[in-house]
Symmetry: C2
Subunit: 341 residues, 2 copies
């Protein structure tokens, strides 16, 4: 186990200087403090193992550009609340820390965690290309990630819902309504979860014995492109149902259909993913795959607590639940063409 | 919620007769008892919800034809122990119930559980084609399954290790030793876990940027066929490393190599899966992907306890760990052909 002496030896400075730097003393220069913290991290030093009384500070780190959490109608609000509901009674302080890519480039993940005395974190909204996602491959800090899977680092856990199951339930529902041609609309595949859902769509179609080929999915970075390019293409292909990667896309698809003169659900059934609070209030209300966000937050704490106590859970997926509202209906029967007599 | 009255009404018998049948009274005929139990299950009646003081009997159900658990060197021994270690302090009685396919054909899963007063179960060693696997798709009994995944039933959980990660670590290890041509030997793909590992092999090869095609895997029902057909084929193909689906296969492969005059690890590196107790004592000792079986047992109880209390966890995967012993070594350098001068 790395000690303060090890850090002092490596840098050729005194133990007390190291200690001061680690404890944010005012008489240590910023440059020296950065050097001490980075060396500490390099040697695998963590505060978690330092005190007999463990550090009781945890944080929920939110990538503020990708996910909102401040208001009750924001997607991540209940996730943060669930985390607090489990962590606070267990004796932890919980800080919510919004970060962006610039901050991540500025300071490495472990140094950030050490500097702020956090014993562990729950990360929300990180896409694959962000700086800290690379740091997490070798991080020593216990970290649970919502909807991200770091392979090969036993100090990390992936928490989410079973999207494979969600897709299986969604397609099963459409199949039971007589639909045969089902499309999938997605944002770009730059996040773990978009890749998972995209794969799950094709897998669930196969599991239900339904025909599919790559043209059945339309993925674009811009929502507008999904609506203006893929949705009309799907209608031209004779699709009678569309599953969207997120409720926001499904909600936009309902609006776009109105503009295209296509009735939801009479002409086209639409299913979303997430069950955000808005989804009960679209017109028609959205059939969607629910994520129980309070439970996700609690599971985030439970698995993080496990990691801090030597229980090496890599993945926890909650059951998905299909919420059937009014955006899905029986597959329309083709109207016979009327010929003039 | 279904009551005893509902069962009585459906069968046109008295409440007290139903109650007697459910409580195994001696003056009720076997035929009538069976009818009551089956009707109870059909109506979704479970004893779990009956008493204010919940039933505290759980069971570990072992498919005795597929998995051994009685002796400390048996694979499932530690899984059962881990389950007990977590369940008993939480106030549960734990019975271990060996079953075979005949018993499963004889009585449906929920009827069996109701008849024996078990509030929940942890299932070990079930292959995909067994009768109870079909029952579990719609079962009302809280059930955790080791290495089996029931999609779409919120009363079931899948507990295992992250095999994708295990395969990623195994292939990463071989890659770091310079291996480029790696084969995969597997038993038939009749169980969920064999399908998962087979898929994980190809996925991990791709993740590591290594070439592969379907001929790189050899899957046969009989161990002997794997050894006599696929292993020589792999050697002919110029493979320098082989990953086996289980340690027993890896151990057999080491023996087969001796007979073929192929040295392990000098000519061929071999990696197993599971880290069964035997694996430290093969010659050479086996590099393998460890499953922490005590933790698997504990996780089995934890997720089952969650299901019984409304926490709907669908999947828990523990981190895989690569144990490097002596059956893997640097990729052999091809010996230059000696020409006569």
């Amino acid at each position: 186990m790395t000690t303060i002496q090890d850090i002092a030896d490596k840098l050729g400075i005194s133990k007390s200087t190291v200690s001061k730097a680690l404890n944010d003393a005012p008489d240590i220069s910023e440059t020296l403090q950065k050097q001490v913290l980075e060396t500490a991290v390099e040697l695998g030093y963590t505060k978690l193992r330092r005190y007999k009384k463990p550090v009781r500070k945890l944080c929920v780190i939110v990538q503020r550009d990708n996910i909102e959490y401040e208001e009750p109608h924001h997607f991540a609000y209940d996730i943060v609340m669930g985390f607090r509901q489990a962590a606070v009674p267990a004796g932890f302080e919980v800080a919510v820390v919004p970060v962006d890519a610039a901050l991540q480039r500025d300071i490495s993940y472990d140094v950030f965690m050490l500097q702020h005395d956090f014993a562990g974190a729950f990360l929300l909204g990180f896409s694959l290309g962000e700086p800290w996602m690379k740091d997490l491959k070798t991080s020593h800090t216990p970290t649970a990630l919502y909807d991200n899977h770091i392979i090969g680092n036993p100090m990390t856990s992936y928490v989410g819902i079973d999207n494979e199951e969600g897709m299986y339930l969604a397609i099963g529902h459409l199949k039971s309504l007589g639909h045969k041609k089902i499309g999938y609309i997605s944002s770009a595949l730059g996040s773990h979860i978009m890749q998972v859902r995209h794969r799950a769509f094709f897998q669930a179609m196969r599991s239900h014995g339904m025909k599919t080929d790559p043209s059945f999915a339309g993925c674009s970075y811009y929502l507008s492109e999904c609506m203006e390019k893929h949705l009309p293409r799907f209608l031209d292909m004779g699709m009678t149902a569309v599953i969207c990667c997120q409720d926001t896309f499904a909600s936009a698809a309902i609006t776009q259909c109105q503009q295209l003169g296509c009735r939801v659900p009479d002409d086209l059934s639409i299913i979303g993913f997430d069950d955000i609070p808005l989804s009960a209030y679209t017109s028609p209300p959205l059939t969607t795959v629910r994520q129980n966000r309070i439970q996700l937050g609690k599971s985030g704490f439970n698995t993080l607590n496990g990691l801090m106590n030597g229980v090496s859970t890599g993945t926890i997926l909650l059951h998905a639940e299909l919420v059937v509202r009014s955006s899905t209906a029986r597959c329309p029967v083709p109207v016979p063409v009327q010929y003039d007599s």
